[in-house]
Symmetry: none
């Protein structure tokens, strides 16, 4: 958020992925998609580069023309997914300003990700949390960004007198992320389908009003 001028964000939004510094290229994308699919099916460490290449319809060596390493493929896929999420949320915030509606939108987009691309959702659930070593550090960065957005919304709501002031915005933000992510996780792994919008409403109802009988 900080390093980029608002104009730059707008431009990127308008242009889609065109100005991304990485070479898009047909095969580039095919490798990314294949990697997510294969890793979702077998897990990162059981997904040989050769299997990813085969799924993408390229030679093993070609993967290394587009990516530095196997790590790099997964990292890039996760990065792009987080970025898309983040961009989508920021975009919407330019139209919707009510903190409650903003939180609901975040919940909705988060929950929708399970049906938009199930393989990616599985990867996000399994591989992002994993291996404190090589993924965690960088994916932590994205998590933090998500949490920060939510915290800012909460704080704005508190300033506007909509939300209680006697609660920690950090705790609430983590609770909200965790609650939604767990619902998503449960749905993705059991293969259940659900209505993202309706589920988002339910979660927000609990978060906003609690479960105590009024």
């Amino acid at each position: 958020m900080k390093p980029e001028a608002p104009g730059a964000i707008a431009a990127a939004v308008d242009a889609g992925e065109v100005f991304s510094p990485v070479p898009p290229g047909e095969k580039y994308q095919r490798i990314l998609d294949a990697a997510v699919e294969v890793i979702a099916e077998k897990g990162y460490f059981n997904a040989p580069v050769s299997a990813i290449a085969a799924r993408a319809g390229v030679a093993d060596g070609t993967v290394y023309l587009y990516f530095k390493s196997k790590d790099d493929v997964l990292r890039t896929a996760i990065d792009r997914n987080f970025d898309r999420f983040h961009r989508q949320v920021i975009e919407r915030f330019q139209e919707v300003h009510d903190p409650r509606e903003q939180l609901e939108y975040i919940a909705q987009v988060h929950l929708e990700s399970g049906s938009v691309n199930r393989a990616m959702a599985i990867v996000m659930q399994t591989e992002v949390r994993q291996s404190a070593q090589f993924i965690a550090e960088f994916s932590h960065h994205h998590l933090v960004k998500y949490i920060q957005v939510v915290r800012e919304v909460i704080r704005r709501g508190q300033q506007q007198g909509i939300f209680r002031q006697d609660i920690s915005d950090g705790v609430v933000a983590h609770c909200m992320f965790g609650a939604i992510d767990e619902l998503l996780s449960s749905a993705v792994f059991t293969g259940r389908s659900y209505d993202a919008k309706a589920t988002a409403k339910q979660v927000l109802d609990v978060l906003l009003n609690g479960i105590n009988r009024a």
Copy 2:
């Protein structure tokens, strides 16, 4: 059996480890502990059995005297941890009957697990969610058990007229588990320490009353 002094057995009895069907044994436990430590540090797939054995102070082959495979070591460690959690909760429920207090106790024990054994908490955060292949299936069983306990408490609260009846106990249960697990995760990975009891109170406050200004 031989390596333990009778006193140790008595202590184990007191500690509630008695019904475990597996032979404790000095090395058995050392291998389990070492595995959790090494896997927490490097991740399951980057933790060679040789490293686990070295950490436990035994020969590589000795690991296979106590466990069928590398998988089996991790599985056992996770099983035992889940079981301890579950036992602890069930025990307390015999004294505490108020649904709100029960939920708070679950939250507290869940959050405490991060400080009781940080390595284990990391493993639970990283490896349990992972590799849909070989862990997920069995760890899913434990998750389900956790969720079930919470759902039952919610339902009881609804029957007693304490909780709102217009909400899904499943959604609430997943939200609660997710919220707490995310808080724990965040604290464990950033290395922050926190007061489990106080944090549990905060989470329950949000869950019960929501964040809307009354």
Copy 3:
């Protein structure tokens, strides 16, 4: 395919290797040859893949580029040897029709195998009979084929009134195979060299006329 000069292919055609369904390839053959040599020297279970690879002048992993497993290497070598034997016999039968001469030819080719490729002969003597588990089942198939060919010759001889009718073709076939194989075995292990043609004649003389003084 690439490593072979066209001339080599033509030579292979002449040599009757053409119908083999497996990709010949330079390294493929080198690995097979190396495997037979090393296994002849040390026995299958004392011949590490690394030793075979080293003898073939390739990296350990390369063996698995051409063969599914260590088993597969040995199995393939034995298969090819049996097939060559069988093909050679069948071919000759199109010119030679006298049952006695046919048996003599089989004996001769069988005995020649010891001098053509001593390592292979040793492998056939030691490993084929061995390990009821993984070799026996498949090599039994080849043995049966050999025996069948001999039985058919015997039966034809009986029908033509050349051979006695009061003897079991099965017993005679096994006797003949066993007798020749034992002679070969003895020669191979003691390192004695012999004249295959002359020895074949002697064996057939005994088989046809017996050792009783007329």
Copy 4:
């Protein structure tokens, strides 16, 4: 035959195994039997000492109280089997003097070994021929002894004018051993049962009279 005085043989025969330099002992024999069974089932290299010990009902370490090594167990079992065979033949030769009957007796005892102890027969078929390295050298010694006995019978028959003089006693001896061993092998592996005496007669008929129509 040569190194031992007749008296020594007679004494050994009379005394059974009592003066054998190895400690008989109950467990000693149980280990030998168990080894033969397990090795027959799984092959030498797939038969762990622990499995042999378990089958024998003793601890792993106990095997090493009676034998120097795993090799030694197998070697001893094979030795004893060969010796029993040899002793049985020599004994009978003191009553039966006709070369034809002697050969027939050898064939019969050889063929009977399949039904007397199938596991041992399998071991003799699979492991004796194997691994030029550690078994072959010593088992060669026994083979040679067998062949020598047969050769002497043949030569005696030639001297007595019963057998043809224009054939090599060595070739005939190997042929006879090989023929019988192959019949035995075939029967043992296919699990067929047969009449040893009748089969011995058939083999000798072929060997003595040949298969040519008179």
